[in-house]
C-alpha cells in the first residue's frame, strides 16, 4: 500500500518524522527541515545583520549539514552574515587528520575562509601524546576542555562575533541527562541553553556560542545529509570507547526507540527547570468528597478510576442482557 505525505497529500512518503510521527515526502521534508531551523534562528534572535560567524566544523555529519543549511538560509533570507569555517586538529592519527580533509572539501564547495588550529601548536600536546601519558580514562575530558578553549582562541583570531556549533536535539538531551546523573545541579538548568557565553557574568563576557540545531533530531540530520548527498566523515574516535556520554547516548537511543518524542521531552523538561512557567500552579491538597481521604481534586483519583471501572461493568452487564 502506498503511503502519502501528510503535508502535501500528493507525493509518496519516504520517512516518518521522529518529532511528530508524521509521514513526509522528500520535498516537504527538505522544506520543513530548513524552515524549522530558520524559525529557531529568528525566534531566538540568534544573529544580527552584518555579524561575522565562525562555524565550528569537524567534518562530521552535524557540522557538514550545518555549513550547508546556514549558507543556504543566509542567502535565502538575507541574514547578512559573514561566515567562516573553524576547525580544531586534536592530533589524533587516522581520525582527525582524515576528517579535516572533509572540512577542506566543504571550504571549496561553499567558498568560505577556513582556519585550522591544533592542540599541538596551542598547548604543545597532541591528543595522541595526552593518551600516551594518561591512558584511556578521562581523556575525553581533556579533549573537550581543550577544544572549547581552542574554538574561543580561533574565533578571536578570526575576529568573529559568534561561534555556531552543530549540537543537535539528541546531544542536548544527552547533556541534560548527564548533568542529572552526575547530580550537577549548577549546570543542570542551562544544559540545553541555545546561546551560551553571552551572559557577561562577573563582567566577563565570552564569545556567544549558538546551536541552530537545538531542536533538530539526529535522525533528520542524517536523513538530510543522505538525500542531499552531502559527504561527511563518520568514524568513531579511536579514544572515546570509555566516555560516559556514550552510555547516556545508548540510553537515549533506547528511549527514543520506544517513544520518539523522548528527546524533545527532555529538552522541554530542562527549559522548564531553567524558566518555570509561573502560571502553572501545583494542585492544592484537599479531601476527596467521596472517600474523605487525601486528594488533589474534589474527587480523588482512586474514586474516579473506580467510578469508570464500575460504569464499564454496568455496560458489560447490559451488553450480556441484550
Amino acid at each position: 500500500m502506498v503511503k502519502y505525505c501528510q503535508s502535501c497529500n500528493t507525493q509518496k512518503a519516504f520517512m516518518v518524522r521522529p518529532k511528530t510521527g508524521n509521514l513526509i515526502c522528500q520535498n516537504c521534508f527538505f522544506q520543513a527541515f530548513e524552515d524549522e531551523i530558520h524559525h529557531t534562528i529568528i525566534s531566538t534572535q540568534m544573529f544580527k545583520p552584518g555579524e561575522k560567524i565562525a562555524i565550528a566544523a569537524s567534518g562530521g555529519k552535524d557540522s557538514t549539514v550545518l555549513v550547508h543549511v546556514i549558507t543556504l538560509l543566509n542567502k535565502k533570507y538575507n541574514y547578512g552574515l559573514h561566515l567562516y569555517l573553524l576547525s580544531i586538529d586534536e592530533g589524533i592519527k587516522g581520525y582527525r587528520d582524515d576528517s579535516l580533509e572533509t572540512v577542506k572539501q566543504n571550504q571549496i564547495t561553499y567558498d568560505l575562509e577556513l582556519k585550522i588550529l591544533s592542540y599541538k601548536e596551542l598547548f604543545n600536546w597532541s591528543m595522541d601524546e595526552v593518551v600516551a601519558q594518561i591512558g584511556l580514562n578521562n581523556n575525553c575530558t581533556y579533549c573537550g576542555v581543550f577544544r572549547r578553549q581552542s574554538l574561543d582562541r580561533g574565533a578571536i583570531q578570526l575576529g568573529v562575533d559568534k561561534i555556531i556549533t552543530g549540537h543537535n536535539a539528541d546531544d542536548m538531551a544527552e547533556t541534560f541527562l548527564m548533568n542529572l546523573l552526575r547530580g550537577d545541579i549548577f549546570r543542570l538548568p542551562k544544559s540545553t541553553a541555545i546561546i551560551t557565553g553571552d551572559d557577561g557574568d562577573n563582567g566577563i563576557a565570552t564569545l556567544p556560542r549558538c546551536k541552530p540545531f537545538k531542536y533538530t533530531y539526529e535522525k533528520e540530520i542524517v536523513m538530510y545529509a543522505h538525500y542531499k548527498k552531502l559527504i561527511y566523515f563518520s568514524t568513531e574516535c579511536t579514544y572515546s570507547p570509555n566516555a560516559f556520554r556514550g552510555h547516556v547516548r545508548e540510553l537515549i537511543k533506547n528511549l527514543e526507540a520506544i517513544r520518539p518524542s523522548a528527546v524533545i521531552d527532555l529538552i522541554h523538561s530542562c527549559e522548564q527547570l531553567d524558566a518555570p512557567n509561573q502560571n502553572q500552579k501545583l494542585p492544592q491538597k484537599q479531601l476527596c468528597q467521596k472517600c474523605n481521604l487525601l486528594s488533589s481534586n474534589k474527587i480523588c483519583k482512586a474514586c474516579t478510576l473506580l467510578e469508570s471501572l464500575n460504569q464499564g461493568r454496568a455496560k458489560q452487564i447490559l451488553q450480556i442482557q441484550e
Binding site: 519516504f14 520517512m15 516518518v16 543522505h226 563518520s234 568514524t235 547516548r249
Partner: protein, 94 residues
C-alpha cells in the same frame, strides 16, 4: 532471490570494510528479520556498532529502496528480489 545491502555512517567496518553486499536467498520472499538474521552471521562479532546484545543497535537508520523502514513494519517488512536495503549509523562524530 537477490538482496543488495549497503552500509553508511561507518558501519562497513563491521563487514570487512565492504560498503555493499549482495546476498542470495533461496526463498522468493523474505522479511527484514530474515535479512537481519543473515547479517548476524556476516558481522564481525568484535564490532558492536551494528549488533548490540543480539539486537540491531538503536540509532541505526534503515532504508528499504531508499525509504524509511518505519513506514513499513520494520522487522516485519517484506522484501522482494532486487530490493536494496541501506543501514546508516547516526552514532558517530559531530
Amino acid at each position: 532471490m537477490k538482496i543488495i545491502v549497503d552500509f553508511g555512517g561507518g558501519l562497513d567496518i563491521c563487514f570487512e570494510n565492504k560498503k555493499e553486499l549482495t546476498l542470495e536467498f533461496e526463498e522468493q520472499q523474505i522479511k527484514m528479520t530474515d535479512l537481519i538474521t543473515r547479517l548476524k552471521t556476516l558481522c564481525n562479532p568484535k564490532k558492536l556498532d551494528f549488533f548490540y546484545t543480539q539486537q540491531l543497535r538503536p540509532g541505526i537508520l534503515v532504508l528499504i529502496n531508499d525509504a524509511d523502514w518505519e513506514l513499513e513494519d520494520k522487522e516485519e517488512a517484506q522484501l522482494q528480489h532486487n530490493d536494496r536495503v541501506s543501514f546508516i549509523s547516526t552514532l558517530h562524530g559531530g
